[in-house]
């Protein structure tokens, strides 16, 4: 019974690691490519319809929309991935602290999570963003600091459940070290939940950063799909929305749907739901 689930958890772990690695490679390639891409520069050809020269037309100050779309892609995706990772790391650190640190620390952390839960974070973020016009790093810090607490509410019960299972007790009795238990019993068991949380975080982070870009509250030099949508707002009453609004909005939605589908596929591939189902207890 002990090794029963390890093939699946290992294979899903392999898949998710593969997906993360692939995303990393893509982002790196995007960054490398963006250096060799044509500059996203202004030109006299303003509001040109799509043509052979400008595949997706140009915007109000003559920038090529297609170049902008490609240049914004790694920034938007990377921003979401980094923010999601930072929030997850914070949440896991807080959860482990709560799980291992004794009842007083645990209740303090749960209290903090309760407090963060009722803070209207969007208002707080607006206030901060209005003042500091965050760039890449600023967005990561702001969004991860206001987003990690939701993950604790999911991660902590799972962690506590796994810590009190027989296999861990058994292994400890047989002389396994804490580190061994963590690596061979607890981590494989909570890994699917971690990946699920990560994907959820990526969606949230992408939505929020796009929102800030749309409001124009980010550093104006930070080109994201959200800020490209903001650019199109002035041209809704002209024909130009066709090539100014639809490409970035479509790219953003595709990215979000993609993450959702990966998450769904991952869940139904038997990690979370399947595990619950076949749980002997």
């Amino acid at each position: 019974m002990l090794g029963y689930w390890s093939p699946i958890t290992q294979s899903t772990g392999f898949i998710s690691r593969g997906a993360i690695a692939a995303a990393g490679v893509l982002v790196m390639a995007g960054f490398a490519l963006s250096e060799s891409l044509p500059q996203y520069k202004t030109s006299p050809d303003v509001l040109q319809a799509p043509s052979m020269e400008h595949w997706l037309g140009t915007n109000g100050i003559g920038q090529d929309v297609f170049v902008g779309l490609v240049r914004a892609a790694p920034i938007t995706v990377f921003l979401a991935l980094i923010t999601a990772t930072a929030a997850l790391v914070l949440a896991l650190a807080a959860s482990s602290l709560a799980a291992f640190g004794g009842s007083r620390i645990r209740s303090a952390i749960l209290r903090l999570v309760d407090v963060l839960q009722v803070i209207p974070s969007i208002l707080l973020l607006l206030l901060l963003a209005a003042w500091i016009q965050p760039g890449f790093l600023g967005l990561v810090v702001l969004l991860s600091l206001t987003g990690w607490h939701e993950d604790v509410r999911v991660a902590l019960p799972i962690l506590l459940r796994e810590l009190t299972r027989e296999n861990v007790h058994f292994a400890r009795r047989m002389g396994a070290s804490r580190r061994y238990c963590l690596r061979h019993h607890i981590l494989p068991a909570i890994w699917p939940a971690i990946v699920g949380l990560f994907l959820q975080n990526v969606r949230q982070a992408a939505l929020k950063t796009a929102g800030f870009g749309f409001l124009g509250l980010t550093d104006p030099r930070l080109l994201t799909w959200g800020s490209m949508i903001q650019d199109s707002m002035d041209y809704l009453y002209t024909e130009a929305w066709l090539w100014l609004l639809l490409p970035p909005a479509g790219a953003l939605s595709l990215f979000l749907v993609g993450i959702l589908i990966i998450g769904e596929g991952y869940m139904s591939n038997g990690s979370l739901s399947g595990k619950e189902h076949h749980d002997p207890r």
Binding site: V115, V118, P120, I122, L126, A130, W131, L215, M233
Partner: protein, 325 residues
């Protein structure tokens, strides 16, 4: 002996009061901690003109920046307690008056959208969760997944384009015509017409949250004996969906509602901006654009207080319902 529900409510109130106090302090200290002087930031904007020392000092006093910071905090808190949120220079009106004019519009949008997204989310989720994997579930879940992946501002812009500009059947902005009709009935009708698109955009964004919640709950409920029994007794159709599924969903929905409130106020902000609807979101956004920090601070404090209050009420109702089982 105090009943536990009262204790629970009191502790909830305590947490929220603490959060509110922290927010007020943050709003007070933030502009003072950051580099730059609010008066100078204000003067470096478009309204810039040269001021002599006396005028500058007067402006400082008006901004609540006279004296050292404990003094400033005292003045600030005292003003806040009296309900004086300061004076907005770009709007040439007291902040509290501006908020009083805009909060009803925001509440109108939310209170019109809430029944729509709650009902559609619940009905769709129950229908899909009753038979997961069936035809309806596959179609509806697919559609909701796509809708959930369109950011709220994008769906609002698309709605605006579709029904306000390309096929202009509905007004594309504002909350009523430029010159409101003197006939009250006509005026109500105009207000309703203007609210249709923003309400639709807001509901569209929130449906997915409650749809997935209802679907998940319905899937587990379908396994419960009382539902199996009801199905066995031949109860079906509307009665099964409302009395058996719907009632059991109610506490879960309420509990989620208190979490969703913050998101709702965030979404309403985007919707108001896209439709230039004169609610608080629009007010806050313009305050940011105008660098009207006094208005921004006042609006953030009042809205935070409103969100905390609503969220406390919903939480209290949810816990009392959950205790009933």
């Amino acid at each position: 002996m105090v009943p536990p529900i009262i204790l629970n409510m009191l502790s909830g109130l305590g947490v929220r009061l603490l959060v509110f106090a922290l927010l007020v302090l943050l709003v007070f200290f933030l502009p003072r901690m950051l580099p730059g002087d609010p008066v100078e930031v204000f003067l470096s904007s478009d309204l810039s003109r040269n001021l002599n020392g006396a005028e500058s000092a007067e402006l400082r006093a008006q901004f609540g920046l006279a004296g050292d910071w404990p003094q400033q905090l005292g003045v600030y808190l005292w003003d806040l307690i009296r309900g004086d949120l300061g004076y907005s220079v770009p709007h040439a009106a007291p902040v509290s008056e501006l908020l009083r004019a805009s909060i009803p519009w925001t509440l109108l949008l939310i209170s019109c959208a809430a029944p729509i997204f709650l009902f559609v989310g619940a009905a769709g989720g129950i229908e899909a969760g009753k038979a997961p994997g069936a035809f309806f579930d596959r179609i509806a879940t697919g559609v909701v997944m796509v809708v959930a992946s369109i950011p709220p501002f994008t769906s609002a812009v698309l709605l605006l384009l579709a029904f306000g500009i390309l096929w202009p059947v509905l007004p594309s902005g504002g909350s009523e015509p430029f010159f409101p009709s003197s006939n009250p009935l006509q005026r109500d009708f105009d207000i309703a017409r203007h609210a249709v698109l923003p309400v639709l955009a807001l509901s569209l964004h929130e449906i997915s949250r409650f749809y997935f919640l209802a679907r998940g709950e319905a899937i587990t409920l379908s396994q419960r004996p009382f539902i199996l029994n009801a199905c066995g007794r031949g109860i079906k159709g509307w009665r099964l969906r409302t009395t058996y599924y719907g009632r059991s969903l109610f506490p879960v929905f309420l509990a989620r509602m208190s979490d969703a409130l913050t998101g709702l106020f965030g979404a309403v902000l985007f919707v108001e901006i896209v439709f230039s609807y004169p609610g608080t979101g629009h007010l806050i956004y313009n305050a940011i654009l105008d660098r009207d920090y006094i208005l921004l601070q006042g609006a953030v404090i009042v809205m935070a207080g409103l969100v905390l209050l609503l969220n406390w009420i919903i939480d209290a109702v949810a816990t009392s319902l959950a205790r009933r089982g």
